[in-house]
Symmetry: C2
Subunit: 443 residues, 2 copies
C-alpha cells in the first residue's frame, strides 16, 4: 500500500453546520459557566468574571444534589430551565404565552423529532403515515423518516424565487399523495436548511391555514432563528403568527417547534442538546409522548447551555462586552454568505440564490454531460461523484444535494459559511479551480 502525495495540506470540512470544526471559537461566557458547573472549585477564586460565577451558582442550584452529574428532575428536563425557555419564547413572540410544561429537552433536535415521528408512525401501503417534506430538506431528515417508517411526501421549493415555499405546490403534493399514504404532518425548515430562505408573514399564514384545513400537524424546525440577515428580513416564529391569527387557528392547529444549541450563534454541535415546544397537542397524545420519553433522561449540561443561550449577559454585566462576540459572529455569517454567493455566481455553470439566514449556501451546478455519464457508469449520483472528487483533489468536503433529498436534473452542493473568513476564502478558491478543471476536461 502506498499513499499519493495530496496537493493540499489539510482537509476542510464545511459539509455540515459545525463551526468549531473549521476554527470558529466557542463563546467564552458559555464555556466558562459550563466549566464552573462541572468543577465548582473554580468558583472559589476570582479567575472567572462575577457574572459567570453568579450564573454557575444559579444553574447548580437547579440541579439535583447541586451536581450536573444527577439526573434531571423529570424526563422532560429540569423544571426551572423549562421555565427559562418558556420565558424566552414569550419575549421572542411579543408576549404570546408559553407553558413550561410544553417544553421537552433531549440530546439534540433529531432525537426530539424522532420521538414525534415514532409517535406518528403507523400503517403500511396506502395507510402508511406520511410527512410533507420540502425539497431540498435538512440532510438528516430523509434518514429519520425512513427509520421511523414514515413516507416522505415531497414538495418542491422554488429555486428561482430564492427557495420560497409556494402554497399551490403544497396542495399539489398533498393531492398526489392521496391513495399512496396518509398525510399526517408538514415539515417546515425556517430559516431554511440548506436553502437560507426566510419565510415571510404571508407564506407562514398560508401554511397555517393549509395545515388547519387539512388537519395536519406542523413540524417546524426553527434552529437557525438567531441567524437571519440580509434584505431587512426578520425571523417570525410560526407560533407567533399562529397566535396572531386568532383563536380560530390558535386553539386548533397542532404544532411542534424545534430549537437547538448546535445551530446558529452558539454552534455547540458536540454538546448535543435541544428542545421542542409542543403546542395544542391533544392531552392524551401528549401524555403518550411523555410516556415515550420517560425511560430516557435528557443530558444536564446541554440544558444549562440552552439556558445561557436564551439569557445572554445583559448590558452592565462583566461578560457583556465579551459576549458581543455574538454580534461579530452574526456579522461574519452575513459577510461570508454575501461573499460566497457573489463568488459562486461568477463561476461559469454555478448559480447561487441570495441567502437571508441560516448557515448554508446551496448553489446549483451545471455539469458536463460526460461527467454525468461517468457517474452513471459508476452507479453514483453526479453530485456525489463531484463531492468525492473535490475531496480527493482539493481536500474540501462539501455536501451533495442528493443528501438533502434533492433528486433533480440540476445538481446542487451544500456548504457552511459559519467559518473564519480566511477558511471560507480557501474553500471558494479550491472549489473554483476544481470546478473549472471539470468543465475544461469535458470540453
Amino acid at each position: 500500500m502506498h499513499f499519493h502525495k495530496k496537493p493540499f495540506q489539510r482537509v476542510i470540512d464545511v459539509s455540515s453546520g459545525d463551526p468549531h470544526r473549521t476554527g470558529m471559537r466557542p463563546l467564552s461566557f458559555a464555556r466558562q459557566v459550563l466549566a464552573a458547573c462541572l468543577y465548582p472549585e473554580l468558583l472559589k477564586d476570582n479567575s472567572f468574571p462575577s457574572d459567570v460565577r453568579q450564573r454557575a451558582q444559579k444553574l447548580l442550584g437547579v440541579c439535583n444534589g447541586g451536581s450536573v452529574g444527577s439526573y434531571s428532575a423529570s424526563s422532560c428536563g429540569i423544571p426551572q430551565i423549562q421555565r427559562s425557555i418558556a420565558e424566552f419564547i414569550t419575549r421572542r413572540d411579543g408576549g404570546v404565552a408559553s407553558d413550561p410544561e410544553d417544553i421537552i429537552f433531549s440530546s439534540g433536535s433529531q432525537t426530539t423529532l424522532m420521538l414525534v415521528l415514532h409517535l406518528m408512525s403507523s400503517g403500511q401501503g396506502p395507510t402508511q403515515a406520511g410527512v410533507l417534506t420540502p425539497l431540498p430538506c435538512p440532510h438528516t431528515l430523509p434518514m429519520l423518516l425512513d427509520e421511523a417508517a414514515i413516507k416522505l411526501i415531497p414538495y418542491q421549493l422554488l429555486e428561482e424565487q430564492g427557495w420560497a415555499l409556494e402554497l399551490e405546490e403544497l396542495q399539489r403534493a398533498l393531492r398526489a399523495a392521496k391513495g399512496h399514504c396518509e398525510p399526517r404532518a408538514i415539515y417546515i425548515s425556517n430559516p431554511g436548511n440548506p436553502t437560507g430562505h426566510v419565510q415571510d408573514l404571508k407564506t407562514i399564514e398560508g401554511v397555517i391555514r393549509f395545515a388547519a384545513s387539512e388537519q395536519l400537524l406542523l413540524l417546524v424546525e426553527e434552529v437557525y432563528q438567531d441567524s437571519v440577515f440580509g434584505q431587512e428580513q426578520k425571523f417570525l416564529s410560526y407560533k407567533k403568527v399562529l397566535f396572531d391569527m386568532g383563536p380560530k387557528y390558535s386553539d386548533k392547529v397542532e404544532m411542534v417547534s424545534f430549537h437547538s444549541i448546535s445551530n446558529g450563534i452558539l454552534g455547540e454541535c458536540g454538546l448535543r442538546g435541544g428542545y421542542m415546544e409542543v403546542i395544542n397537542m391533544d392531552p392524551l397524545v401528549k401524555s403518550f409522548l411523555m410516556s415515550m420519553q420517560a425511560p430516557y433522561s435528557p443530558p444536564v449540561l446541554p440544558q444549562l447551555a440552552l439556558e445561557i443561550m436564551v439569557n445572554p449577559p445583559s448590558p452592565g454585566d462583566d461578560s457583556h462586552e465579551v459576549y458581543s462576540q455574538v454580534l461579530q459572529r452574526a456579522e461574519i455569517i452575513s459577510q461570508n454568505a454575501r461573499r460566497g454567493c457573489e463568488f459562486l455566481n461568477n463561476i461559469a455553470g454555478m448559480s447561487c440564490q441570495p441567502v437571508m439566514g441560516g448557515v448554508f449556501l446551496y448553489p446549483s451546478l451545471q455539469l458536463p454531460v460526460e461527467f454525468i455519464q461517468q457517474a452513471e457508469v459508476l452507479g453514483m449520483q453526479a453530485d456525489v461523484l463531484y463531492c468525492q472528487k473535490l475531496l480527493e483533489q482539493e481536500g474540501v468536503c462539501l455536501g451533495p444535494g442528493s443528501e438533502n433529498g434533492h433528486d433533480d436534473k440540476n445538481f446542487h452542493i451544500r456548504l457552511c459559511v459559519l467559518a473564519p473568513p480566511a477558511v471560507l476564502e480557501d474553500v471558494l478558491q479550491r472549489l473554483s479551480s476544481f470546478h473549472l478543471r471539470i468543465q475544461e476536461r469535458h470540453h
Copy 2:
C-alpha cells in the same frame, strides 16, 4: 390551597442509582479534565495537576477542530475513543480481542439498547418479536420494550438463591412463549439491577449454550461491572466467557454488551453517555444498525468521560492519590450494602437477600391484608401505595418493585446504597419507623 407541615426537613430520593443526588461527590480528576476540555484557557496556568492538563490536551487532540463543540468524526463516535474502549475491554478480558469498530457510543445505555430493540422489532401477535426478560429487571426496561413494540417474555430469578438465574426457568419461559410471539433475544443484567446478584461462570456458560442452541441474541447489560464486592465474587464479562468457550460458540453467538458512565463508580448520570460493543453481528445487520445511528451524533463530553473511566490515573501520576477516592467509594458501597441488608432483615416482615454487586438493595415486604385491600380499592399496586405513603409521611423516595416488572404476591422495594453512609442511615431509620407504623395500624 394550603400546605400541611411535613414531619421531615428534606426529601431523600434513593429510588434510582443517582449518587450525586444524595450528596456523593463527583470524582475530581474526571471533572477537572472535562472542565479543562470545555474551557482550554484553564490549561494556561498551573491551577490543575499536570496529569489533568496532559489528559485534557490529549482528549482535545482527538476532537474535530480541537473543540468539544464539534460533531464526532463518525456517527458511532470518535475513532480514538473507540480504540481506548476496545483496549480497555481487551485488558479486562485477559487479552480477548475487541475491534474498535464494534464500539458504538450514544447518550446512555437506554439509547443504545433502544436502537437494537428497534432493529429487532417486527411482527404482530404470534409473529411479534419477543425478549426473554428477567423479573425483576431494570425499571426502565419494560417501558423500552413496550415503546419498541417488543413482547416481554418473563423469566423469574430465584429470590431464595440470592436472585440467581436458573437455566430450567429460561427453558420454561421459552416454551411458554412459543405460539405467542417470536423469541429473538435474552436480556441479562449482570451484576443484577436491582437484585445485586453477580453471575458465576457456570451460569454464564449455561446461558451462552442456551442462546447458541436457540439462536437468540444476547443483550447483556454490564453497567455495574466495576461495582462488585462481597463473598469473593468476581465480575466475569459475558464476552470473556464466550471466547473462553472456544470457536464453536465464539464464532457464532451474537451478543451486545452495554456499559455507561452513569452507573457504578463514576456515577455521572446527568452527563448521559454510554457505549455498546456489538459482537458477531451479521455484517448486513450491523451495517443496517450503523445506518439507523447515522442521523444522530453521539455527545462528545460523555465520550471523553468514558475514556477517563477506562483509563484512570496510574500510580505515580499527580492525581493518582486523589483518584483513590474510587477505592473509598467501592468500600462505601460495600459497607452500605452490608449495613442496609442487616438492618432490613431485622425489621419484622422484611427480608433482603445478601448483595454481591451493583448499587441496589431489593428487599421483599410482607404487607398486612388490610393494606393490600386498601390499595386494591384505590386501584393501585400495594408496593406503589407503600412507596407513596412513605414519601408523604417520611420524605423518603424508594422504587416500587412493580416498576421492575415484578408482579408478585411478595411485594418489593428498591433502594440505592451508593449514598453517603449518614444519608443511608437516615433512609433506613425513616423506612423502619414507617414500616412498623403500617404493621401496627393494621393489627
